[in-house]
Amino acid sequence: MHGFANPKRFQTLASWLTPLLLVAGLVLSAGALWWGLTQVSPDRLMGETVRILFLHVPAAWLGMGGWTAIAISSLVYLVWRHPLAALAARAAAVPGLVFTLICLVTGSIWGRPTWGTWWVWDGRLTSMLVLAFLYAAYIALAQAAAREGVSARIPAIFGLVGAINIPIINRSVVWWNSLHQPPSITMGNSAIDGEYLAPLLVAVVGFSLIFGGIVLARMRALLADIQAEARLRRRASEAV
């Protein structure tokens, strides 16, 4: 584990892993979306609108997965002080927010024809909207901390505390009466027919690879920023 904390070794690894993840993810996602949007048959009740599933569900999982990554990285940063862990948390925030927004927008578009409404304030929808706000707050906080040169400990604590929302989102449809249906996929079981499940799982893998690629690319960009700034500062101090 400490081996990867070395920024130089990370750079070597990330320089070939980033394009690999992005290309594989794009190919898998495009294939899964083509499969889901054009090849599977309509649902018995929802008809054609079931196809939103293949965008909505992977986006929802990655929206929650993004914050889980922030929380784990924050924990690693707080305990082991790995500087790369703080960068990983910062890098996961923007793609996490984007996937959360995709989930909210596709869910709203899906809700109109199936439920008869764009939006309701039930447990699931509200907790997912809270997640989007948490992401926005985290991004602002982490950027402010980096700009002001404040310790990354403050955003890390926020990342850990915000993780309490993840199990709440997951359990919201079980604990409370909600308009959103209960989970279709639970430990070892799926209420989604195999015809839909296969492209869905491919889409989840593809989206996850894209997510990983974006995180690595953003980590490299943040590292480059830090190195450029350090070099400028060194040069400035030498000039004086």
């Binding site: 599977v40 048959s41 309509p42 649902d43 018995r44 009740l45 929802m46 008809g47 079931v50 599933l53 924990l75 707080l78 305990v79 082991w80 024809p113 199936t114 439920w115 008869g116 409404t117 309701v120 304030w121 039930d122 447990g123 850990l160 505390v161 309490i164 199990p167 709440i168 359990r171 919201s172 604990w175 409370w176 009466n177 909600s178 308009l179 249906q181 209960p182 989970p183 279709s184 430990m187 070892g188 079981n189 799926s190 209420a191 989604i192 027919d193 195999g194 015809e195 839909y196 499940l197």
Partner: protein, 156 residues
């Protein structure tokens, strides 16, 4: 006793903080268990009826065989059932969503009338967690159960 390494001190501190945080979250969720419900089930509404005329939501399953349309063509009457067999009759005038059918879930927004009938201003369809292609719909229950078994993925 040797002093703990700072790394381990931090680990213990963070774990304690997380335990406290999860505990607080669970307590908050427990306290919210009734307030955060989006609708009342029929049994909840019967056990603790809202004031007549108070805006509330009623949710449950549309009872099989209960759906009728009045002579005016736009007024629907049906019964919503809960988990324990309790039922509340509902009246609604307007356009129901496409997924509103007997045996399916519904959330009715409206108010409880003095005669115990729920008068809905709006209906929302609540669908279940099953996603099944159209071709499988006509299958017998046994076939469907077999199919469901086959499509159940084991993640062990």
């Amino acid at each position: 006793m040797s002093a703990l390494k700072p790394k381990h001190q931090r680990l213990i501190l963070v774990v304690l903080a997380l335990v406290a945080l999860v505990g607080a979250g669970l307590l908050a969720a427990y306290a919210l268990r009734n307030q955060a419900n989006y609708f009342y089930l029929p049994e909840q509404m019967q056990a603790d009826p809202p004031a007549v005329g108070q805006a509330v939501r009623l949710g449950g399953m549309v009872e099989q065989g209960s759906l009728t349309t009045d002579n005016d063509g736009v007024t629907l009457r049906f019964a919503v059932t809960g988990n324990d067999g309790s039922r509340i009759p509902v009246r609604f005038s307007g356009i129901a969503p496409d997924l509103f059918v007997e045996g399916s879930g519904v959330v009715a927004e409206g108010r409880l009338g003095p005669d115990g009938t729920f008068v809905a201003d709006n209906l929302l369809a609540k669908h279940d967690e099953n996603y099944v292609p159209k071709e499988l719909e006509g299958m017998s229950e046994m076939q469907a159960a077999k199919m469901a078994e086959e499509t159940t993925v084991g993640i062990e």
